[in-house]
Symmetry: D2
Subunit: 324 residues, 4 copies
């Protein structure tokens, strides 16, 4: 099995929050960040947001830097969140002009993805949702989402569109807030090149068992892309992989092998106070350690134990391998 | 609009929990419970579980008691939870014999519903889920669910099948845990007579905005039945309607009018320590008070305010009517 | 009863988050923000953070602006969060130099408070906590907290020190995370001029019933200051007062009267996308509407109903006044 | 260090819930349950509830059975929850007659504990709390709690009184809902023989980091007794130890060694659908596996890493031992 690891390059940037807007450290140019990424053992890909990390202006430069650092663009994230104009929504905004602009941005992001060889874009709709009761018309918002995504996925069939769900933040409620809703949405869009991104932290935050979410999406042919990180369930803390949900991660990596997921294993961490290179390196080491464990346990053996249905026996078998 | 109120008759029973299994008060025969229900102003319907409140043995008796008390059966709940044989699942159990039995039980429930004039059954799959990681094969479980529900909904088209989602309890994780998952499931079953039940407490527990869940289901023609109660979000407390989520209830009742929901407004409360008649009476009074408020506010006026998109102005308008 | 309303002046600033660091609107100088605050009917006080809104450099200017706008400084918040040096803690930092600096900052904040006539400082320890298991020595941190606060409260007895608890953000875990922990801490410090600030949103986020937290603190003579806002329990959303927890707010305002709280009613809202003047105005109108309701209900009548212990009857009595 | 393992004997009983009140299996007499407990490798103690597992009537018989099975009574739980008379509270009930009865029951429990050689009772106040806003007078309840516990702890100084906190269930809100509140309470009672029980699941449910709660209590000399189990944070699922919070358990066992906790390691699991002997056996194996790991890691080495404050490096060190 040939696992390809990737990381979002925002991890190497300044990492601010609402109390420290200028960041917990100084920000860095994308070229420097790519260099840092390239120093991480096992990492061969990077995620770049458009237009944030990569823009129309620095596209050539980014392409160069990728080559120079022997990194592939794993996916291009379309930034529908980080500018004021999107604050009441993008693909589902009530304002048709904003929706139009948001669709066009995604289409340009597809072109950028194709140019950089990523061949897939990530669409996370951070601002499409609501903060208060009585703020939006849910039915109209749903229709606008479907229509906008049809225009995007229909724009070019050689670039995949990966819709990433998240229950909240920056809005108190996002429209596309769990795996089933995301699947429903992409099914309604009805095109082959649209599917779903699971971000492990978002899935935990949605109250999901991540392996179950993966199984549902893979069973419907829509498991397109994966973000790894960890949190304490109530918020998207974007922590070191496995630092909290180790048992869930073991189950998840077993299922990733089982369903034959062959996409990127991409890190989406946000190390406010930690060294990003260290966090990425340790996240990859943890994932590799778990993959080795799953191999030692054996997928057929785990299948057999699950088929027997004695959960305690199965957990005991696993425990004997990690706490001998 | 002519609102029809109903209540689950288990509210009038002993109401035990795991620490007080014999109940917070003595249990009562169904005939007595129906008499109590009939004493509640505005209540014209009752929910009965089969085979628990209504059984093959007491069917005639229940039919008589309904007539005597001038009550309609609003829906028949099929009890796939309260017997030991279902403890590892019913419609999605790994054991094909259990699945068969569970399907047949639901079909018999449909016959009972037809006989009692309810013409709809409620299927809440309390035991279909898992407690631990590595306990079940999520993909098989999904297939079994779809197959079982096809056999049920296909059994007779004159009885509606309402699937009620709930994120947890009695399992730590239920398969059908939110509105979108339930909608995905019934769409996959693909028959006209299968739809979804929203239980307000389950929806809150799933982290949903209830009005949004309603809007999604109604927009897809699958909003079949409704359970009212309240809780503190982290558990299915089955409290007095509006005792916690008053603002959400106002939004919900506005949306129920807006989408033209014409089904039952059914109470699913579990008053361990309170008088169930008092809780149902006050729940109905609260719902009617909110409906009156929504009428005073005016649906076109609320539509207009929402279209303007100024959430604070909309909430201010509502506040002036409840806190003058 | 003479209620004094106040608001944190950060509400009138740019309001950024980690995805939109430059803010959802342009930031404003403190003088402009004070002018906005002064335009809000019923508002007579403002909270200022030191050294952020008020600094050593602009102290005279702020004093002037307060006078010119007929505003009082209700409390001075000491900013132990918004600079990089505090990122691993302030009063409980492992580095003794940082702790010293943090103590001195608070003492200077007390001088500023005295100078501006506020006579109380607010200490919210946003960075004192941890993100990961195995990150800190909890016992040392507790001792450092107690020692640091002794030095602060002991610095001058004419300025009150109000410790504000919050369960998380910006750390995934804060040390002083609920009302009982805050009370334990200030009792251990053991000086008369140290007490607790309840921020309603932090209390909800801590899983508390806010009225109960207030009753506990007031019963121990440590209920010093109050922040009003609202949220959806899982995060500190800093929303419009009463937009979510209306029932809890009614109970809270009843208890505030009952225990004779005579401090400020201060707004701590963070209106990313809304007009801050509108949010503060509507928050005050909501609080006044609830106070009027509590007066109409009558505190002796509510006392009597609570003494009877029939929760449904009490809630029914209240409901009849808001949903007639 | 010589670890003593214990288990609550209710684990071996029928285990019902509100949907299956007669239990997921048949109940068993206490003598049979003790025999099952005795079959578990490494288990030397049992917890018994009075008057439930042990009563005035079967006291001699239980004493015999303990001897016959070579089991010690680790602690006697006083049952203030499982009878209807406690439904609105016990030690903090508004009815003084109920409070009196509750105090006497605890005192008799102390005599039973002394007689059986346990020398400590556990007080978990399941019914002392509230379900609704406006249901109770929080200040009176607190005073009644303190007074009742004074009478109990003062009754005989040779038996320890361990107060177990839990945020909810069976009430939607319990008064003694977290570690700090419990510590505040026992400090206010002010007697040497009263302290706190941490139940890991209750602590997780309270949003606590369990190791931090332990450190706080141990630092104040009040860490008396420990219940082990696991859950998904939002409810007291009473699952197999370490099946969810493995990382937290490693940190907890490190801290238990660090503070020199020398009490019982007692299992409080509730295996509805699993074999209780298997769950207890595997729980103990997991705890022993973690203890071995902590020894391999070395407490001085962990102390040193924590003092350095590089969380990622510390977690990496641990990860290398469990996922080599």
């Amino acid at each position: 099995m040939d696992i390809r690891f990737s990381a979002g390059v925002w991890a190497f940037d300044g990492c601010g929050d609402r109390f420290l807007l200028r960041g917990y450290r100084d920000g860095k140019l994308v070229a420097e960040r790519l260099k840092e990424a390239a120093s991480i053992p096992g990492l061969s890909g990077v995620e770049l947001n458009y237009p944030a990390d990569v823009t129309d202006a620095n596209l050539d430069e980014v392409e160069e830097a990728l080559k120079a650092n022997k990194l592939q663009a794993s996916i291009i994230g379309v930034d529908h969140t980080g500018q004021r104009k999107w604050q009441f929504g993008s693909l589902a905004a009530a304002d048709p002009g904003i929706r139009r602009e948001a669709v066009i941005l995604a289409q340009r992001g597809m072109d950028v993805a194709a140019r950089l060889g990523a061949n897939q874009i990530n669409i996370w709709l951070g601002q499409d949702g609501f903060d208060y009761c009585f703020q939006v018309d849910y039915q109209k918002a749903w229709r606008w989402l479907v229509e906008s995504l049809k225009e995007i996925a229909g724009y070019r069939s050689d670039v995949r569109v990966c819709v990433e769900y998240k229950p909240k933040e920056p809005r108190t409620h996002a429209f596309i807030n769990n795996a089933a809703k995301a699947l429903l949405l992409v099914q309604e869009v009805g095109l082959d090149n649209i599917g779903v991104t699971i971000d492990v932290g978002h899935s935990l935050n949605a109250g999901e068992n991540v392996a179950e979410a993966l199984a549902l999406l893979a069973g419907h042919g829509k498991m397109f892309h994966f973000h790894f990180n960890d949190n304490y369930r109530s918020w998207d803390d974007d922590l070191l992989v496995g630092s909290v949900h180790l048992v869930e991660y073991i189950e998840l990596l077993y299922w990733l092998q089982k369903v034959g997921y062959d996409g990127w294993y991409s890190l989406d961490v946000f190390p406010y106070r930690e060294d990003p290179v260290q966090v990425c390196r340790e996240s990859i080491a943890t994932l590799q350690g778990i993959l080795n464990l799953v191999n030692r346990l054996g997928i057929p053996k785990l299948d057999e134990l699950i088929a027997k249905g004695d959960a305690i026996a199965t957990l005991s078998f696993i425990r004997q391998h990690i706490l001998p």
